[in-house]
């Protein structure tokens, strides 16, 4: 295993890891025809960290992101999120974790079409099964989130009426609304021109500075470098972990 022992120790001794995987494996197929997408991955991410995961296609970064995002379960190993072992939760419990603790930002924005920006941002609250907020509360919160990403004047717009950068901002507002433990960005700038892409990365940085834990999955080393640390995956294993030299800006 090629993880950097120094960082491990630092994380162990410093802030408590809010995300931790232990010998995480994901094996596809059955019998002899098995493919290990993840072959024993150990990651620790502390609260408030901005980490990027990078690797060529087939490195297992998507698989890792899906497991970290509770969209799938590991074949073996442990995944501890916010002090809870969630490696063996059922689909319903995973859905609740996604709803409460994870905010996704996808490459293709993945907003609901013909649904206003405000209602798109509110969507996670709709699936909150211990629903204690009134509709007005939810709308107020969604508006707050849209203001945070600079779209306070676009609440009634449909996604198709917004630019790509604006749509991605709506998606970020949606990811923030549940005050998640972790925000996962899956190539969030992949569909944007470099200018809008830079804006989105700047927004990620701002959110990070406000205390959010961010995991950015990308294939682009330049984008990965925006994070404090970069985990480089290859063939289902961590090849190396690099510090990007800007522990916290300012």
């Amino acid at each position: 295993m090629l993880s950097a022992p120094g960082l491990w120790v630092q994380n162990k001794m410093g802030k408590q890891a809010i995300i931790e995987t232990v010998d995480l494996k994901k094996i596809y197929g059955m019998g002899d025809a098995t493919v290990a997408a993840l072959n024993g991955v150990n990651i620790q991410i502390t609260a408030g960290e901005f980490v990027s995961i990078i690797g060529p296609s087939g490195s297992g970064k998507s698989t890792l992101m899906h497991i970290l995002g509770c969209l799938s379960r590991p074949t073996a190993g442990q995944y501890i999120l916010d002090d809870q072992d969630i490696s063996n939760l059922d689909n319903k419990q995973l859905a609740a974790i996604r709803n409460k603790k994870i905010g996704f930002v996808f490459q293709a924005y993945n907003l609901l079409s013909r649904t206003t920006a405000l209602h798109n941002v509110m969507l996670p609250l709709m699936y909150d099964h211990v629903d204690s907020q009134t509709q007005a509360d939810k709308e107020k919160l969604a508006l707050e989130m849209l203001k945070k990403v600079g779209l306070g004047d676009r609440i009634g717009h449909m996604p198709q009426e917004l630019s790509g950068g604006q749509q991605q901002r709506v998606a970020i507002a949606r990811a923030l609304i549940n005050n998640p433990v972790m925000i996962i960005g899956d190539e969030p700038t992949g569909n944007l021109d470099s200018h809008s892409g830079a804006d989105i990365l700047k927004l990620f940085n701002e959110i990070h500075e406000q205390g959010a834990t961010i995991v950015l999955v990308t294939h682009d080393p330049q984008i990965a470098a925006y994070a404090q640390r970069t985990i480089i995956l290859r063939d289902g294993l961590i090849e190396s972990i690099t510090k990007n030299g800007h522990e916290r800006k300012q």
């Binding site: 899906h66 859905a95 609740a96 709803n99 907003l111 709709m126 699936y127 949606r174």
Partner: protein
């Protein structure tokens, strides 16, 4: 997710594809409308028939002859084989609770009067109780008397439309008509009654039954047994128990005909029997039609299932997004199930309006009576909702079972 939100989301999804939703609902609309329409038309027909049977007069007992083996005009050796005219008199005189007894003997003759010749006119020989028993009234002139019956007086009372056909607007009373080769004076005209049970009561001529026996249906055995009749109508006092009267008549006729209760030569039916038989027949027919109409509801359900499967496929990405932000399988299932249910309920409501409106319109335009049966409305609508749930479940379940990763990748 709150139910109101589920309904809202589903409704929006339906509203997004208006034409497709309308076409999907068409099957259910036709199914529900057909069930309601078919039932209302057949219920209307049933009500009409019941009215006609009741129109014969109320509290009626019908006594019919059981004919001997050789057919209706043969006599069995033991003198069995039917009713005679005098049986009617005997019942009228000896059975308590009887209000009126009437006997009918019909014939078909050519009628001439006033230069008009009508062929195949129904001539009904009957007794003086006929207007009472059959609830008919005299419009002008008078009905014939018991004396006329006893003395075989050749007089005639015309039905309303027959009178108009022969004499137009002039009063036929006092004029003469020729029936067959017999000339008779018209002594009265009946008030219109209309067609009852397929017989037009207004197109007939009425005369004393004894005249019909003598002139139009002479029986060669009348000298030995009396004049044979096929049917005796007995009208019973409404305050008397019908069964008691039936028993009395049975005992009387057993004695008169010298038969036992095990082998009677007559049968007794009541109006209720006829209505019950009629109802059973029409109800069976109505149920059959309703089931056939109900099949189109199932076809409508298959239409819903088909379009829901398309919808689930089209919205795979949306399902993935909802799953990513925390929707459970139940959340997704209820959403698509609600969509199918709304389609069927809305289709059911439209079908209800179309079915009820169509029944009323059909009744108004065709002149046929239609009766909207509430139970059929509830049944059709309820079935539509059930069809939505039943046929919506499979697509909804398919949506719920989607893998979020696959769903998010779906282009």
């Amino acid at each position: 997710m709150k139910l109101s939100e589920v309904v809202k989301i589903s409704w929006e999804a339906i509203a997004k594809n208006k034409i497709r939703s309308m076409l999907t609902m068409l099957g259910v609309i036709i199914g529900v409308a057909a069930v309601i329409g078919v039932v209302s038309i057949s219920a209307g027909t049933e009500a009409t028939i019941n009215d006609q049977i009741s129109g014969l007069g109320s509290n009626l007992i019908f006594i019919t002859a059981n004919f001997g083996r050789g057919g209706r005009d043969s006599f069995a050796p033991n003198n069995r084989g039917g009713l005679v005219f005098n049986d009617a008199y005997a019942i009228a005189q000896q059975v308590p609770g009887v209000v009126g007894v009437t006997v009918e003997q019909d014939a078909s003759e050519t009628v001439k009067a006033n230069g008009v010749t009508l062929t195949d006119i129904s001539i009904l020989g009957t007794t003086i109780d006929f207007p009472t028993v059959r609830s008919m009234n005299i419009a002008s002139g008078s009905y014939f008397t018991q004396q006329a019956v006893d003395q075989k007086q050749k007089v005639v009372v015309l039905g309303a439309s027959l009178a108009t056909q022969l004499f137009g607007t002039s009063d036929p009373v006092g004029q003469y008509i020729t029936i067959g080769s017999t000339q008779l004076p018209v002594i009265g005209v009946m008030a219109p009654k209309g067609a009852v049970g397929g017989i037009d009561y207004d197109a007939r001529a009425y005369m004393p039954i004894t005249v019909v026996f003598q002139k139009f249906t002479p029986s060669e055995f009348a000298r030995f047994r009396g004049d044979r009749v096929r049917l005796i109508y007995v009208k019973v006092d409404p305050s008397v128990k019908l069964d008691d009267v039936i028993l009395q008549i049975q005992l009387l006729l057993y004695k008169r005909h010298n038969v036992t209760s095990s082998a009677p030569d007559f049968s007794i039916t009541t109006q209720q029997d006829i209505i019950a038989t009629q109802e059973a027949t029409t109800a069976a027919f109505r149920n059959l039609l309703a089931w056939v109409a109900g099949i189109s509801l199932i076809v409508g359900g298959i239409g819903i299932m088909n379009i829901m499967l398309v919808s689930v496929t089209e919205r795979t990405r949306e399902i993935g997004i909802r799953q990513a932000v925390g929707a459970t399988a139940e959340d997704i299932r209820i959403q698509f199930l609600m969509e199918a249910l709304l389609l069927s309920i809305f289709g059911g409501l439209v079908g209800l309006v179309v079915g009820m409106g169509g029944s009323i319109l059909f009744g108004a335009l065709s002149g046929m009576r239609t009766v909207i049966v509430p139970s059929s409305v509830f049944l059709a609508f309820g079935s539509a909702a059930l069809v939505g749930i039943f046929f919506g479940y499979y697509p909804a379940n398919r949506a719920a079972q989607l893998d979020p990763i696959e769903a998010l990748r779906y282009e």
